[in-house]
């Protein structure tokens, strides 16, 4: 076999010199316990993940529910402790940041949670919600705080600002609440925003507006953006590179148009096949999608995790050995044995 294009996992060889964030061989496993104290196994929510993100770059991590997206987000944010692997931010290893350095790291990353209804404490006014991060990070001058609140709200098109400041979250629509969440995430002028399904609880007609605001901010302020979603149809509009996640792994990555126009991994192909664009013609065709369900992360299949559902699985190989990362075309990488004999160019 001519394994010319193998990029070894976990060695960090792929990380870019200008990386704002670099994640290497990251594992986040959760203990499975019986009766609260006997460990019976692990849920491998994030299982050997490598990727990096340049300053000001927008990437999307796409995968179905339960594949480990939120676990990955929380590990990057420092809310989950990695079981193994490292995270570098601006070249600094952050897995071991403590005290002031930890505070600094938190101020550099804005977090937009999945559910705006759960993200905002109901008893705090919009003013207090936005003031809190500033107070925590030592902005002592009240006038400066006010100025920054007004700035963030204006960026989120929540004007006139005075109409909102004294309101409480429940008085706002879902879309407005999500703007508050985003305003809170950007008020410390972070270098990176992690947006975990930022619009999946919202209706179609307001989703686009929120995503456009987020993408606009990211460009204007040159912030890195990790857009996490299960909705592949939005990524072309709101990101530059896509990572496809399946059962704890990033199984494919490429620049957006490249990935959508020329998917390599059979799972990515299946996802694209499964998604409808509004068209009356859809009613007269069947979609060729594999059956089955995503595997349990506590007991994933041997070899490639997609092999039990894969229409082109190679017997004797895919169910036995974990595929390494191949690079069938430039900057287009995938964990799939189909590409074992394809050269890198």
């Amino acid at each position: 076999m001519a394994e010319t294009a193998v990029v070894p996992q976990g060695t960090g060889q792929d990380s870019r010199p200008d990386a704002l964030l670099a994640v290497k061989d990251l594992h986040t496993w959760f203990e499975l316990r019986k009766w609260g104290f006997i460990r019976t196994g692990w849920v491998r929510a994030v299982d050997s993940v490598d990727f990096s993100l340049a300053a000001g770059e927008a990437i999307a991590i796409v995968g179905e529910s339960g594949c480990g997206k939120s676990s990955l987000a929380k590990t990057i944010l420092g809310l989950n402790t990695p079981t193994r692997g490292q995270i570098f931010f601006n070249g600094r290893r952050i897995s071991h940041l403590t005290g002031r350095e930890g505070e600094w790291y938190k101020s550099q990353i804005g977090y937009v949670m999945q559910d705006p209804y759960g993200a905002l404490p109901p008893f705090m006014s919009i003013r207090r919600l936005l003031e809190e991060p500033l107070l925590i990070h030592g902005v002592k001058d009240p006038a400066e705080r006010h100025e920054r609140i007004v700035e963030a709200m204006t960026q989120m098109k929540m004007t006139p600002v005075d109409d909102f400041l004294s309101k409480f979250p429940h008085m706002l629509s879902g879309g407005q609440q999500q703007r508050v969440v985003i305003a809170r995430a950007i008020i410390l002028k972070p270098k990176l925003i992690v947006a975990d399904e930022p619009v999946s609880m919202l209706d179609a007609s307001v989703r686009v507006e929120i995503l456009q605001l987020l993408r606009g901010l990211q460009r204007d302020m040159n912030i890195g953006l990790i857009y996490i979603t299960h909705d592949l149809s939005t990524v072309r509009y709101f990101s530059e590179r896509i990572f496809v996640m399946y059962a704890g792994r990033l199984v494919e990555e490429a620049e957006v148009d490249d990935l959508l126009d020329d998917p390599k991994h059979p799972y990515t192909k299946a996802l694209l096949e499964a998604i409808a664009d509004p068209d009356a013609g859809n009613a007269s065709v069947y979609r060729k999608v594999p059956g089955g369900e995503p595997p349990s992360l506590a007991n994933p299949p041997s070899g490639c995790r997609f092999h039990p559902r894969c229409p082109v699985m190679i017997k004797g190989l895919c169910e036995v050995e974990d595929p390494p990362r191949f690079e069938p075309t430039r900057e287009h990488k995938t964990l799939c044995w189909l590409y074992r004999e394809v050269s890198g160019e």
């Binding site: 879309g175 209706d203 007609s205 959508l260 998604i275 664009d277 009356a280 069947y286």
Partner: protein, 327 residues
């Protein structure tokens, strides 16, 4: 969408709820027609009254009903004239069945799948013979892709996708004239969603079923649609064939909604609708979409009637008054 003896005709259907804050006008004067053997999709954003409409059609009413009136005809029979006992015996499951929202979580946990699926037959239907009913249930389960050995299991032993298929089999088992599907795939993962849509397409073809598919997801709705209706703030604002609707939606709300749907295969300019739908406690007097509508004009402060235009399409918007073929 011409009238046909075995189709569905809904006229001036209202379902209002009493709440502490006032009367919620969840279904507020809905008119629909659907020929038998066709599928109507009803799309609309959350809270516009879609689930209430399906409950109104199947008379599954909560206690706090304030107003429930209108006519629901199956063929020539107006089932609204039936008393509750008659409706339960002769309509529900037998002539109209439903796969409710989150049906897969609503199955009885202590009854085997095949017995639950057989239940509509035993309680309402053709047979009193248990074996025969179970046979029929198994046939239906096989048709929707639930293998034999799964049929004998309990709901908790099955994945969400398999349970949802069982709920669909249960709705189909008594060969009803009409099946209501309320967001049948929204809680499932993407590949499972596509597989279940494939199942519904096959069922539709093989059994010539009449479906109403209710969803907030416009792209998915096109997978099954022969006809399409758009619901906004308790009312149907447009009813067209799917061909017409997906190519050229008429109502300004439908147009905006379509423009807000991201497409995978082509890159278009995405739009959004500023503002939010009105409260159903006290909806505006005129057109309910007017304050979010770029095309609004003086007339819109009055409630528009439903105009029939362009070969039978119906649209509740004053813009179409001049080309209307009725009234």
């Amino acid at each position: 969408m011409a009238h046909q003896s075995s189709g569905l005709t809904v006229e001036d259907l209202y379902l209002h709820f009493r709440t502490r804050r006032g009367v919620v006008q969840a279904v507020d004067g809905v008119n629909l027609t659907l020929d038998s053997g066709r599928t109507l999709v009803i799309v609309g954003e959350s809270g516009c009254g879609k689930s209430s409409l399906s409950r109104a059609i199947l008379r599954l009413l909560p206690r706090n009903v304030h107003t429930y009136k209108g006519s629901i005809r199956l063929g020539t029979t107006d089932v609204m004239t039936f008393n509750d006992e008659l409706f339960r015996r002769e309509v529900r499951w037998v002539r109209i069945a439903m796969v409710p929202q989150a049906a897969m979580n609503a199955l009885n946990p202590v009854i085997r799948i095949q017995e639950q699926v057989a239940e509509p037959l035993l309680v309402h239907g053709s047979t009193q013979d248990l074996d025969e009913a179970i046979d029929q249930a198994r046939r239906m389960l096989r048709m929707v892709g639930v293998p034999q050995d799964f049929a004998e299991r309990y709901p908790f032993e099955l994945s969400g996708g398999m349970r949802q298929r069982a709920a669909i089999a249960m709705a189909l088992v008594a060969s009803p004239d009409l099946v209501l599907l309320d967001e049948p795939t929204s809680a499932l993962d993407l590949l499972t969603q596509a597989n279940i849509m494939n199942v519904l397409k096959a069922v539709k073809q093989d059994l010539q079923s009449t479906f109403i598919l209710i969803t907030h997801d416009i792209a998915t709705s096109s997978e099954l649609a022969d006809d399409a209706a758009v619901m906004y703030a308790g009312q149907i604002v447009e009813l067209s064939t799917a061909d017409q609707f997906f190519r050229d939606p008429l109502h300004p709300y439908s147009q905006k909604l379509m423009a807000s749907v991201p497409t995978l295969r082509e890159k278009k300019t995405l739009e959004f609708i500023p503002g939010q739908p009105p409260s159903l406690l006290d909806p505006p007097k005129g057109c309910r979409f007017a304050d979010r509508c770029e095309a609004r004009f003086a007339r819109c402060s009055e409630e528009p009637p439903v105009f029939t235009v362009r070969g039978g399409r119906r649209v509740k918007c004053w813009l179409y008054e001049s080309e209307a073929t009725d009234g």
